[in-house]
């Protein structure tokens, strides 16, 4: 099978039971996407398939054939961060940071579809992503900040 991962075409031959999460982490070493519950309960493995946030642990690798997958690795790096990464850092929206990649990908999907979300819309979009350190108040602020920066044109477009 062939699929697009972060803009590059990847050929893979996963077993029928291999999940997208296993493919990303174990076969492709894209370990930014986290394995926490491995059964669709926590959102830590959130990635985008054709722009839609999905749980990679509940998605079979074969269900992604011919689709475009984006992971946390498609965003920026520490030298050139994506506006959401910069906003998460500015608002201290990551403590241990383990849920952060999933939170960021959920937020990317939100802002790509809604450039000016209300707090209620932010909460609704982010409510599938658990955090145990308690960064939720700062996540809302970070997403709001990123949306505002993007709208003001002071940041790159939010497409990651």
């Amino acid at each position: 099978m062939k699929l697009s991962i972060n803009g590059r075409t990847v050929s893979a031959e996963p077993a029928g039971s291999t999940t997208l999460l296993d493919l990303l982490r174990d076969d492709l070493a894209l370990v930014g996407t986290k394995r926490v519950c491995d059964r669709g309960e926590c959102g830590a493995c959130t990635v985008l398939r054709d722009g839609v946030p999905i749980y990679a642990c509940l998605t079979l690798a074969h269900a992604c054939a011919g689709h475009e997958i984006r992971t946390i690795e498609s965003l920026g790096n520490t030298d050139a961060p994506h506006v959401l990464q910069e906003s998460f850092a500015a608002e201290d929206a990551a403590q241990c940071g383990f849920c952060t990649p999933g939170q960021l990908m959920a937020a990317v999907a939100l802002l790509e579809h809604n450039a000016d979300p209300s707090d209620t819309e932010i909460v609704a979009a982010m409510s599938g992503n658990l955090c145990r350190c308690g960064t939720y108040p700062k996540i809302v602020r970070a997403v709001r900040r990123a949306a505002s920066l993007a709208r003001a044109g002071t940041a790159e477009p939010t497409r990651g």
Partner: protein
Amino acid sequence: MAESTNGAAKPRFVTTTVEVEGRTEERVVEVPAFEPTPWEADAALTHVGARARRVDALLKSTGRPGYTTDLQRAQLAHAVVVRATVPRGRLTALDISAARAVDGVLDVLVHADVPARTRMFSADITYVGQPLAAICATTREAAEHAASLVRATVEPLPHAVTVEAALRGDAVRPGLQNNLMQGAPRTNTRGDIARGLAEAEVTITREVRTPCVLHSALEPHAAAAEWDGDHLTVWESTQGIYRVRDNLAKALGVPLTSVRVICEAMGGGFGAKNYAGPHTYIAALFAKRLGRPVSCVIDRLGEQIDTGNRPSSWQRITLGATRDGTLTAIQLEATVPLGIGGWEGGPGEIFHELYTCPNVSTHETFAFVNTAAMAAFRAPGHAEGAVGLEIAMNALAKELGIDPLVLREKNLATHDQKKNRPYTGNRLAECYAEGARRMGWSTREQVRAASKRATPHLRRGFGVAAQVWSTGGGPPSYATVRVNTDGSADVLAGSQDLGTGTRTILAQVAAEALGHSLDRVRAVIGDTASGPYAGNSWGSMTVASLTPAVRMAAEDARRALLEAAAGLLGVAPDALETREGRVVVRGTERSLAFGEVTAKLGNVMIQGHGSRGPNPQDAGIVTTGAQFAEVEVDVETGVVKVLRIVAVHDAGRIVNPTLAESQLEGGIIQGLGFALFEERRLDAKLGLPLNIGLHDYKIPTIADMPVIDGHFLDGADSKANHVGARGIAEPAIIPTAPAIAGAVADALGVEVNELPITPWRVLAALGG
């Protein structure tokens, strides 16, 4: 540079006491060669107290800060644990032949293969989830598949998973005289409880239950191990790299200095990651046998059933007071099912601490039961005890017709009653006042009435609760600060950053004491091979334990730098000062950048050594605080919504307000889960855990968030240590659940004294 000028020779090593997780330990400590002059509350500081950005914030936003579970090694093999599925029995046979035959399986470990000191894989099964064997394969999927093919033959034995069953005497594990910790209940008494009750004009009694709750760190317990000859390197998701090293060396019977433990980044601990565990030993043993690196990551089921918990509690509280609200008696009887092991992290301690009262008696029964052992969980004991004590205080206030806040203020603890000594600082009275102002406590009656008129089924209520927790930290803790040849500086310490921000605040303190710019100072932590000893990140003690050592090391390095610069500038060292990375001749424009000084030195190293001195023995060191909750309860559905939490704490000097607020919010949110959602459920008859994932075990989500107004009193505790800082991690969680419980009772007019306060418990309390 100030230092003590005590002319008499001080003993270099002395014995001191430190408090960890509510327990007091005696330790030999080294008295530092010099102690910097304390930074008083009005000290003019640049980096300490600043809202500096978390140094690894952007790195974390890439998902790759270096978690143990993300470790990439060539030939890395994967180990999984085979677990017991019954609460008690005797393992008579373990058939691993089918597992061995699975493609990709490399090795299997059973009881006969492991050193006795690992205490793994016993044939005496004492709880569901107990490890029975481990399997290693080239892929995690192969190892998991093989584990499912292991066939255990077990002769079942009677079990006890409740205190009641344990007290009936059914043995829960071999070798116990009875099922009680230390063989008997623990009783602590101050004064004369009978007299206190006799003197009371009003007494109230309440029964309160708190649930067993799970740490639920998102990164699971995990280790990876690799041998190079006799030298072992272990990556571990841990709160204590040095303790893991010690545990490993003892369990495996190898020299301490042959073991290196690394924790570059970790995904949460909350008290459950203080020691090496079976996963650590399994990774190390397989790696040795196979001659390749091995990773052992506990799956979510294992996290739910075998990595510790905050045990449940039953508490019966009796309070006695005179009509004016003066407490005369505080009495607690409590039972705690510890699980198959653990320690006496019970609710009783806070009953002796939070309020002034001459007569206090706590009687706690700690029972062993056939569930996984408890572990320290953010303010162990105090979080549970505060629920019982504060619910009882609210009941007493109602009985007396006194405002619950006024009752608390009237009975404020003015000194450390357990040891009859003052506190270095305790500004709880100010916390109450500031919190009440922020919450609008005085107008709560009007808000409640207006809300009831507007929406009769939604009842508004307000609650208050307080906390006290020992946060003095203490020795031993060491740090090295070196100024590199390019003028940048490193702080080396054997600590680790759980997500609290340790890496950031160590750099802030070093930059302050060196007179450097923060972006040129880097904390190198999380590796026993590079950092001198630091203790576990537990007991809210990292800031108070380690930052004084870092400050001292930085001042030591600064002194060396000034002496080197003095020769270059042709002035005496005491004519020099440091500012933002430059050595400046005081009162002039002449200066040299640190890098210009070090460039002249070649490979001469500028490094400073720092150690943490003993705490004052004549005063208690605590963080105190008060939290206020505003809730809205739907009396038709029973759903409780927390609208607002106001939290005001006195934690001494705050090294970084942004990080401290984050930690405060984290404690409050975990406290909210404890109050409303979280409960590890068991089937008592079968001894089986029922909610074994994050779907059934509910932790708070972003949709459950109240408005959180967290605030720290300005100031510094310069009597506690020369940085003036205390801890906040555990204090943050203690008052949240009792404040919410108080607010629910205020809203309903009836109490719900069993946590979590679920809709059906609310409806039951309303008689629905």
